[in-house]
């Protein structure tokens, strides 16, 4: 837990007055939260750069953990507590585990794999740099005069649920439809190879295994408790 998060310490909104109401705050004399925000941002940026430059595949996934975890801390600093935990649950707990599982199924070595570099690196660098600059200009220009009041928590679960299921029901339903379509699509794509692939995957063991990718143990089952 980062030390500079007073807002997440209490489930009940504290009775403190909103201090940022009068006059717009400036960039000079930053508060502790702002300093921590910038520092964590630097860590996230560094981890992201290392993620795409390291020659070791698994380390790239682990740097991704650092970058995504840093983003969760940023959410916390902005008092969006619920989003922060969702970030940890979905991205760190599931997506990265899925990535690592996928990597383990490949022949990637424990050491560096220099041949994994694409010859299109300079082009990718230019495109990524241009996209980053474009996004930065856009976000800075759009939110330059907007200030978030850190005294009151903004990301409480109840508030979030109310706004999502009162005001944003339609986008929410559209998104779930999209995800359902993706799910069905994935099943259809994976079933196309089914007749040849599943026969030889787990012979002799119960053929109802949901994940055919797991190599089943063909040897005896350990009888010791």
């Amino acid at each position: 837990m980062s030390p500079g998060t007073p807002a997440v310490l209490s489930a009940v909104p504290p009775t403190a007055l909103p201090t940022a109401a009068d006059g717009s705050p400036g960039f000079l004399s930053p508060s502790g939260v702002e300093i921590v925000f910038v520092l964590v941002g630097v860590v996230v940026l560094g981890a992201a750069v290392l993620c795409v430059t390291t020659p070791r595949l698994v380390r790239a996934a682990l740097y991704l953990v650092v970058a995504l975890g840093g983003l969760a801390v940023q959410y916390l600093l902005l008092t969006a507590e619920f989003i922060a935990w969702v970030q940890v649950l979905i991205y760190l707990g599931s997506v990265v585990v899925l990535l690592l599982f996928g990597l383990m199924l490949t022949k990637a070595p424990t050491g560096p794999s220099p041949d994994a570099n694409s010859p299109a690196r300079p082009v990718a660098l230019v495109v990524a740099g241009a996209a980053a600059v474009l996004l930065m200009v856009l976000v800075v220009d759009a939110f330059r005069t907007t200030w978030i009041d850190l005294e009151t928590p903004h990301g409480l679960t109840a508030d979030l649920g109310t706004s999502m299921f009162r005001h944003w029901v339609l986008p929410f339903e559209a998104l779930s439809l999209l995800l359902l379509a993706a799910l069905i699509g994935a099943i259809v794509v994976s079933r196309r190879h089914a007749p040849g692939a599943t026969d030889g995957a787990v012979p002799g063991s119960g053929n109802g295994a949901a994940s055919g990718a797991v190599p089943g143990p063909r040897d005896r089952v350990g009888g010791e408790g």
Binding site: A11, V88, L98, G111, R220, V221
Partner: protein, 340 residues
């Protein structure tokens, strides 16, 4: 367990107006109490496992260390582990290999902060989306095992890591669905809020979800009968094959800390946590008793059942636990609509 922490906390908290008045000393005290619980409870479970397993198998277990029924056996084990050489394989990714035990152990400490021990403010930290928090952080521990499995440069470690990942992905879903059922019943994601809303008839109402949650929790910890990722007869010791000395001990400690955390979470979500007679004074005792009873069940399961095969583990998750959890959610929804 440690008598000082539960006794000292209410005294100090009596004159604290509310959560907004948390001082740095109070935070330090709470973290200290959680750390103390984190360091003692897993060892208690480990010692209980030694003795309970032994008596269930017609043995007496450790008897000599510490003179009285071998109470100091785990202390002796710790000294032994600390003396052993800490080896790193030549082909390993040294940094990741060394970091892995810490990554496996730390999440359980962080989770323990959010679990309420008693009524009111007898909790390390009230977190608004507490259920989300504990389940999210709980899932991080597996990263340590995956790191260890990969960085060891050993085929058995890699196999163990793959089985670990497959098992986690299968059991994360029923775990979340079962927890979601309680969240629906209470109408809040906060662990303290869930306990405040708890009624005794929730236990029979949520019993299916409770069983699913507990079984999925045991499976995420790779406790027998779900220990195919370790499976000493097949793949030596899975992701921990190459570890020795203190780092290996840390992995083992993570397993026992996980037992404590999963049992405590099951007690909070499905058995009413601190609720019981004289809950205002004895709430912490009820919570500890329920947690201890569930820990005993975890140990019992290890003695009672042989190890499940990898495909049987997957089959149990997808064809039994997920449908049961969904049925529990439907039941919760129906009852919730009827009584409101």
């Amino acid at each position: 367990m440690e008598p000082t922490a539960p006794a000292a906390l209410p005294v100090l908290l009596a004159d604290v107006a509310g959560p907004a008045a948390l001082g740095p000393g109070d935070v330090a005290l709470r973290l200290g109490a959680v750390l103390l619980a984190f360091l003692t409870l897993p060892l208690l479970v480990g010692q209980a496992e030694h003795k309970v397993m032994a008596h269930m198998q017609g043995r007496v277990g450790p008897m000599h260390a510490g003179r009285f029924h071998g109470w100091a056996q785990l202390v002796a084990d710790g000294v032994k582990f600390a003396q052993k050489e800490d080896t790193v394989p030549a082909g390993a990714d040294r940094t990741v290999f060394r970091l892995a035990p810490a990554v496996a152990l730390l999440p359980y400490f962080v989770v323990l902060v959010a679990i309420p021990l008693g009524p009111g403010t007898l909790v390390g930290q009230v977190i608004d989306a507490g259920v989300f928090f504990v389940l999210a952080v709980l899932g991080l521990g597996v990263l340590g095992q995956l790191m260890g499995g990969w960085a060891s440069a050993n085929k058995y470690s890699l196999l163990g890591g793959m089985r670990t990942a497959a098992q986690l992905m299968a059991y994360e879903l029923p775990l979340l669905l079962a927890a979601a059922s309680v969240v629906m019943a209470a109408g809040t994601l906060s662990l303290t809020g869930i306990l405040d809303a708890f009624q005794w008839w929730w236990v029979p109402w949520q019993i299916i979800g409770g069983i699913v949650f507990f079984v999925a929790g045991i499976a995420e910890l790779h406790r027998p009968p779900f220990d195919a990722p370790l499976a000493p007869e097949e793949i030596i010791f899975g992701a921990f094959t190459e570890y020795s000395g203190l780092r290996f001990a840390l992995f083992l400690l993570a397993e026992y800390a996980g037992i404590v955390v999963v049992s405590a979470l099951t007690a909070v979500l499905f058995l009413g946590g601190w609720h019981g007679p004289f809950a205002d004074q004895l709430g912490w005792l009820w919570m500890l008793l329920k947690t201890a009873a569930l820990c005993f069940l975890v140990i019992w399961a290890r003695v009672a059942w042989p190890r499940l095969r990898v495909d049987q583990i997957q089959k149990l998750a997808w064809t039994v636990l997920v449908p049961l959890a969904l049925a529990q959610i439907a039941l919760t929804g129906v009852v919730k609509v009827v009584i409101s």
